[in-house]
Symmetry: C2
Subunit: 290 residues, 2 copies
């Protein structure tokens, strides 16, 4: 269970090919073969079927573990190295697109005005990747947005010890295409929409909805990106329903936004960070959460 072998294993599984993995990792194909053999010998189980290369049942199980394991390993290394890192003048802020809502943007602007020496680089990413970005040290601060019950914390992928703090909570709306029979309603109950077709997006993962509401929420179209505009366009074209914070749906933007009456859910934004680098990071964090 050497992480080195684990990395090789996930690479082979991803490519479905020893040779391709060898090329990516800078080894010969023979070395990859030997590494996989070593891993299989260690566990005493075949992990891959050959020709075509695909994981066995045990291999699939291992894949589920390997990715988060390797992530945590990288996170641990990054965290330890951070304790000895140079002070940075530039603060790297990563956020999910919906996390930068009007309230958060205003606080950011306020902090920028009050802290003239603060330099912030902002990038957005999918919610499911944000924690990894912060944990691995590619961002100093993370603003994660997600769906949760009021004042409940978000369920973030576990990437090691991290500090989280609630920032804002905003009510959710169901995004309906024009002409939808329910478009005129003042509010909607999600329980009445479990049988509708929904967009599967990282911004509103259906698995999370099933978790919070119950079974149903069949996926219409799956969109793997994190762009709100694209989601709105897809929703307007009737590919499926989705849930967004009210402020993210423009008035008269071709879709109808109907508030969610039950269950009580919000779009919650949380600030997360590992050890903060010295400097303005703590000030910015205070400005965002305070």
């Amino acid at each position: 269970m050497d992480p080195h072998l684990l990395t090789t294993f996930v690479t082979v599984a991803r490519h479905g090919s020893f040779s391709a993995a060898a090329a990516e990792l800078g080894y010969t194909q023979s070395a990859i073969s030997q590494q996989i053999a070593a891993l299989e010998a260690d566990l005493g189980l075949p992990l891959l079927r050959r020709r075509p290369v695909e994981p066995t049942a045990a291999g699939r199980r291992l894949l589920e573990h390997a990715e988060p394991l390797l992530l945590r390993l990288r996170a641990a290394r990054a965290d330890v190295l951070r304790t000895a890192a140079e002070p940075r003048h530039l603060l790297r802020l990563a956020a999910t697109p919906l996390a930068v809502n009007p309230a958060v943007a205003a606080r950011l602007a306020g902090a920028g005005a009050r802290l003239p020496r603060l330099e912030v680089a902002l990038r957005t990413c999918r919610p499911d990747r944000l924690a990894a970005l912060v944990a691995e040290g590619h961002a100093d601060l993370g603003l994660a947005g997600g769906i949760a019950a009021p004042s409940d914390p978000l369920r973030l992928p576990d990437a090691g010890p991290m500090t989280t703090a609630g920032v804002t909570e905003e009510s959710l709306v169901v995004v309906l295409p024009p002409g939808h029979p329910l478009a005129g309603r003042a509010s909607l109950r999600l329980a009445d929409l479990v049988d509708a077709r929904w967009l599967q997006t990282p911004l509103c993962p259906l698995a999370r909805l099933r978790d919070l509401v119950g079974d149903g929420f069949a996926a219409g179209l799956e969109y793997e990106g994190d762009d709100v505009h694209t989601v709105l366009t897809l929703a307007a074209a009737g590919h499926g329903l989705t849930l967004l914070p009210a402020s993210a749906v423009p008035a008269g933007g071709g879709v109808h936004a109907v508030p969610v009456a039950a269950p009580r859910l919000v779009h919650r934004v949380e600030l997360l960070h590992a050890a903060l680098p010295p400097g303005a990071a703590a000030d910015l964090a205070a400005a965002l959460t305070g």
Copy 2:
């Protein structure tokens, strides 16, 4: 960041000695010295100060990561091996002491009556160790008890992908020593007790209370075991207050049990398991959750 070196590092840190770690791990002291040196060279940072042996700031940071990392590694191995394990006739059930409450015990008895071929070995352990026990495959099923808001899941230490299902929820009482001024009350608000002295026990961790209620809850005496009787005895002797499910406090047992009015909290029991071994395990799980 080889797990092998990580294991050596945590062992050395725990013992505060290279030689003691060498003895435990079956190496020479020289090998340990070389392993620590290799780890420090890999990270480019000193992790331990010598004579006396104690972790540096970076070392302390690494220790926080290393334990859960190694746990997950063992859990991954156990989980993969489980896919090829022989069917077991004996089902190993691990539970926190408070998880085996009257309702759960009755369901267990019912399952035993309906499934004559079911053989169950039950062991108890501290709540914070239960997830690890199940993840590492030392138990097939786990019954975890803990304090949570009603219908909220427990916060279990993350030891990899695991299935959880709620089993029971029971109201909580404050355990007061005889003669306590509040003993006569019909109910109590925890917010009024934040300044009292509390028992620090794995069954009712004060960190969790601070999380759910707010600051305060100073620790009187810390008890590291998982024995309910001991906790009751300590509470009766006035070492501090604690929270227990109502069914765990015997009537006329030398202590007063006063229901908690606010915030709304319960003692929740959850069933957790990784991949279930073939056989009666699924039946028992169904009997407990159904």
